[in-house]
């Protein structure tokens, strides 16, 4: 029993110690004996999350958001196209499918009627293929939706576009069903 207690104290101490040293140790790259390789001693402060990566307060992975309900009951009424906030795409395509035209039109109409309201269009891709190519594909998808909205009078200033490519899947899975749900553009109104 005594030994157990001692072990616990030690464990806690080690736990705490390792917690501190980990943060400092990951600052830069340690010097190997290969100073010539260009990776030098980094005992001083290097990049570390909190201080230099400010402004990344974590929303984490959102998945299929679609949560625009704060704008009113029409955004939660399943019979209203405004309740739908995800546009899905075919493989390697940024062409808007006929099913989603009504949804995009409804949001465009809402934005025209509410010129101070801003919308973020997030483009996404499934995990297959190259990550940066998928960023480009997500960009094209967000732009396809934006283009349709602008054609209906939505102003540039109301839309913010960003592509996450395959980096923020709605569903974690490597099957056709997951791929389909990940090839998408998400519409999120800004609060």
């Amino acid at each position: 029993m005594k030994l157990n207690k001692l072990l616990w104290v030690l464990l806690v101490a080690i736990f705490a110690l390792s917690g501190c040293s980990e943060d400092e140790a990951t600052d830069g790259l340690n010097a190997g004996q290969n100073a010539a390789s260009g990776i030098n001693d980094a005992s001083t402060s290097g990049l570390n999350g909190a201080s230099t990566l400010s402004g990344m307060a974590g929303a984490g992975y959102t998945g299929v958001t679609g949560n625009n309900s704060f704008l009113g009951p029409e955004f939660t009424d399943p019979n209203n196209p405004l309740s739908r906030s995800t546009i899905y795409f075919m493989l390697d395509s940024s062409e808007v499918q006929p099913d989603f035209i009504q949804v995009i039109n409804a949001h465009a109409k809402y934005l025209v009627a509410h010129p101070n309201q801003k919308l973020t269009l997030e483009g996404h891709a499934d995990e297959r293929g190259s990550p940066e190519y998928n960023i480009a594909l997500g960009d094209q998808r967000a732009k396809a939706v934006a283009g349709m909205m602008k054609a209906q009078g939505v102003s540039d200033g109301q839309l913010t576009l960003i592509s996450y490519g395959e980096e923020k899947p709605a569903v974690f899975g490597s099957d056709e069903g997951s791929y389909e749900r990940n090839r998408r553009a998400e519409l999120s109104y800004q609060r």
């Binding site: 030690l10 736990f15 830069g28 990344m56």
Partner: protein, 421 residues
């Protein structure tokens, strides 16, 4: 006190196992039977913290060039050439023998000696003595493997190099740098938003990468030694796929600020931005030819993603891949004679290597989700990312496709490897 120490050690094991930075582990999944037979005799050592000879043995084994003799087959364990009975190793059909010892240890300073012996000629090919701190013992072992590799193949070894990669779990994206065998991983950036596309500067002192930490895409250049960094591109839309010019003065990158994604170069000295492509389709994933004269990139201007080439000062755009319905994410071999790429057919993505001269593509991997190829600095292997059974991991394949090794991560996925030049 000794007892206390033991408990402390036990405590460390228990406490560290789940806590410590997850490390990569290597499994050789396919090995070559046709390699040159080499025996690495376990080095004589008194309490060195690293098993130097087993690091050397593992490096040589995963190169694909050698067939390593199993330790239990050895009949003696000489630690220097003078103790070697050559007929004994000849009888075991060995061509080469590595013997050595690790001495010292006082004050954490070690002395590593090794000899590479030609078994058939009963002669010495290499013999060195190296000093190493305890912390550098693994690095020293990798350097010895490099020296042996170069002596026996005529090609530079790549074992003492480094790799960068991105790890992801649902909470965090981390950009890490580790030894080529996955040891000594160090996090150089982490964010709750995605980090992508690490690219080493030619002198290995800096890393360019993409970060979404500000909820927009931006490209950063970070000095590895200090951790200091600079945001070099944050235009509206895509800021992606940074790639260093061979002289280290420019980045090629993808921007979509004018509409569709296009290839640009950014002069890091002057900040001057030059637009190289102007198509209405996707142009991305630029990579410089080793002579700096041209940039190869991915474009879907022909309907499907294929590789194209453009002069690094603009102009002369030509398509360079023609077989397969998806060719993307080029990586040049250091001699510029080959290009590794993601080669896709019908939703199956593999790593292919194209001979630049003949344009023929040799498919090295079995798919179906292989991506992000990166050549080893000696051109003998390609490191890439793949996914099986829901787990994303790294894999390395020799250029003849015979040698495959898996670098798995103990928790979460690992992607986008970049082998330091």
């Amino acid at each position: 006190m000794n007892f206390l120490k033991k408990i402390l050690m036990l405590g460390m094991l228990v406490a560290f196992a789940p806590l410590s930075q997850a490390e990569l582990t290597i499994d050789i999944t396919e090995s070559s039977d046709s390699g040159t037979p080499v025996a690495v005799v376990p080095f004589a050592s008194s309490g060195a913290p690293v098993d130097v000879s087993s690091v050397i043995n593992a490096d040589l084994a995963r190169s694909g060039y050698f067939k390593m003799l199993a330790e239990q087959t050895m009949r003696s364990r000489p630690s220097s050439a003078s103790a070697v009975q050559f007929p004994e190793w000849q009888a075991l059909n060995q061509n080469y023998l590595v013997v050595g010892q690790v001495g010292g240890g006082a004050g954490g300073q070690y002395n590593v000696q090794f000899q590479l012996l030609d078994v058939l000629k009963s002669s010495q090919l290499l013999g060195y003595q190296m000093n190493s701190s305890a912390a550098d013992l693994r690095r020293t072992a990798h350097q010895i493997a490099d020296m042996i590799f170069e002596k026996l193949t005529g090609k530079k070894g790549a074992f003492s190099g480094r790799i960068a990669y991105v790890t992801n779990n649902k909470q965090q994206s981390q950009l890490q740098v580790a030894d080529t065998d996955g040891f000594n991983p160090q996090t150089i950036a982490s964010s709750q938003e995605p980090l992508m596309s690490p690219s080493w500067s030619p002198d290995k002192s800096k890393m360019a990468y993409v970060s979404f930490e500000r909820k927009t895409a931006a490209i950063y250049v970070q000095i590895l030694a200090t951790g200091q960094r600079k945001r070099v591109a944050e235009f509206p839309g895509i800021n992606g796929a940074p790639a260093w010019s061979p002289d280290g003065n420019k980045l090629a990158l993808t921007l979509s600020k004018d509409g569709s994604p296009d290839i640009y170069t950014l002069n890091l000295m002057t900040g001057a931005l030059t637009k190289l492509t102007k198509s209405y389709s996707i142009d991305t994933e630029p990579v410089w030819s080793p002579d700096g004269g041209s940039i190869v990139f991915t474009s879907d201007r022909g309907g499907k993603p294929q590789l194209y080439k453009v002069s690094s000062t603009g102009g002369g755009e030509t398509r360079i891949t023609f077989s397969g319905d998806y060719n993307a994410r080029a990586s040049f071999s250091p001699d510029g004679k080959s290009i590794a790429m993601v080669h896709g057919n019908g939703g199956d993505y593999r790593i292919g290597v194209m001979d630049v001269g003949s344009k023929s593509i040799n498919v090295l991997t079995t798919g179906p989700a292989d991506e992000s190829p990166s050549f080893a600095p000696n051109g003998t292997m390609v490191l890439y990312a793949t996914k099986k059974g829901g787990t994303a991991y790294l894999s390395a394949v020799s250029l003849d496709g015979k040698m495959q090794q898996k670098l798995a991560f103990s928790n979460g996925g690992v992607r986008e490897p970049a082998w330091a030049p």
